[in-house]
Symmetry: C2
Subunit: 301 residues, 2 copies
Amino acid sequence: MKLTILGCYAATPRTFTNPTSQLIEIKNRLFLIDCGEGTQVQLRKNKIKFSKINHIFISHLHGDHFYGLIGLISTFSLLNRNNDLVIYGPKGIKEIILLQLRLSNSWPNFGLHFHELTSNQSELIFEDDKVMVKTIPLKHRVYTNGFLFEEKIAERKLNVDAVNEYQIEKCYFQNIKNGKDILLDDGTLISNEKLTFDPEKPKSYAFCSDTIYNEAIIPIIENADVLYHESTFLESEASLATKTMHSTAIEAATIAKKAQVGKLVLGHYSTRYDAISLFKEEAETIFPNVLLADDGKSFDL
Amino acid sequence: MKLTILGCYAATPRTFTNPTSQLIEIKNRLFLIDCGEGTQVQLRKNKIKFSKINHIFISHLHGDHFYGLIGLISTFSLLNRNNDLVIYGPKGIKEIILLQLRLSNSWPNFGLHFHELTSNQSELIFEDDKVMVKTIPLKHRVYTNGFLFEEKIAERKLNVDAVNEYQIEKCYFQNIKNGKDILLDDGTLISNEKLTFDPEKPKSYAFCSDTIYNEAIIPIIENADVLYHESTFLESEASLATKTMHSTAIEAATIAKKAQVGKLVLGHYSTRYDAISLFKEEAETIFPNVLLADDGKSFDL
């Protein structure tokens, strides 16, 4: 599981900071989360192959989270993309994109699909054989969702020595990996645990931005391996955080602690502060395992 | 008159090149022309005061000419702008911007006005005491206008020695600068040319992008001091230029020559070429006074 931060600063793109966008690579699938202005340039700078992005998740319709989407779609078109593209985001995103494509008379030559979100409950919005994505309803000034990316429980691992010892034929291997016991020709039942090892624990990544401090998300993100939680402000601006429906570093750490996640990644920093290390310092007073997002930074998780 | 190129490359923003946007400063007024994705960052890099921009002219609704507009408007809002902002552009631009502002629930706290264009004839769209702006109907794949920025003819310059010699009172000076003759108390008529010098020749700047080679624009831009004309392609891609309704460097130079402009600025380069100097080389075979636009470059004209 690899997380690449394309942008993690609040409000507006600036000379050296970019608004929110990140890539989570999980089981060889690449998901783009949010798409602030300039995201396509950040993708180029980070040498991401555009054609590998087939699913884009937009948390909410504030500009610093989606103004780069129409440009990215247009560039996909200019690059003669073939793959379908699916956009997941709040109701309204389809109208915004289609209006602009219509007025510029430049309809994409690939399938462009929209999965618009309106629910205030967590729901499964993507699933294939290896990965699931669920929404995390957040509380912000407009309708907002975080996203929980979860690996599915993998197959059990074949104990090669054991299957050889019992002389089990290859055609049964998939059943064994699926957890089945095996009945030998002589009538002996060999339990699955004798033939397999436990699979790797499935990993999960929770993206939560933008949001006010909200304990309602804890049951959804509980035990996630990695939580990205916005921390727009430091404790000195706690009242501003409440007023603008953002979080402080300490609030992000409190959610991480209560949800017993493995690691907390902080981001969505206000540019008013001199150093982002201040966010880590404050968060670590509550939760030990804190990482700082920064534009262009990758985390192998 | 000062021209600042914020971006002058075709199609998509890239790591080191920006889509179209430029500033023309004329008689202390600052006009933004086109606003591709990333324009607000280019404005910051070039240390332009955001509050000085009150009029934005959008040539057409292809993404590389306006996808940065919604982000710039949002940033104006975040910066607590007070001045009114007027957007001039093709019909549809108002719907695009207002839809996004409505869905993000972030209405600007300044006056935001739209002047939508639909005419296929050149028309006066802006005028104050010193400057006029007219449209230049262009031929492209969608409805497109260039813009002609013209200084108004300035007042005549007072000949201080002459007015002193005739002992003319101060209260007549404005009439004299406006070109009036003066009747002295003794009945002598003093012709204006004895009391004034010619004013400076008013300057003009014509922006033409995107467009196929189109001689119909010549009467509108004739004798302009400076013409920016798109040159997306070199002669080797002349047929591609025709097909995509763009121009070559030689076509831009031919328009410059026929319109007898002072200087030609080339831009809107396709990124397929190794060096933009090739555009200048080709254009100079037709027209001598060629300048190359480049991102971040300023011209004192």
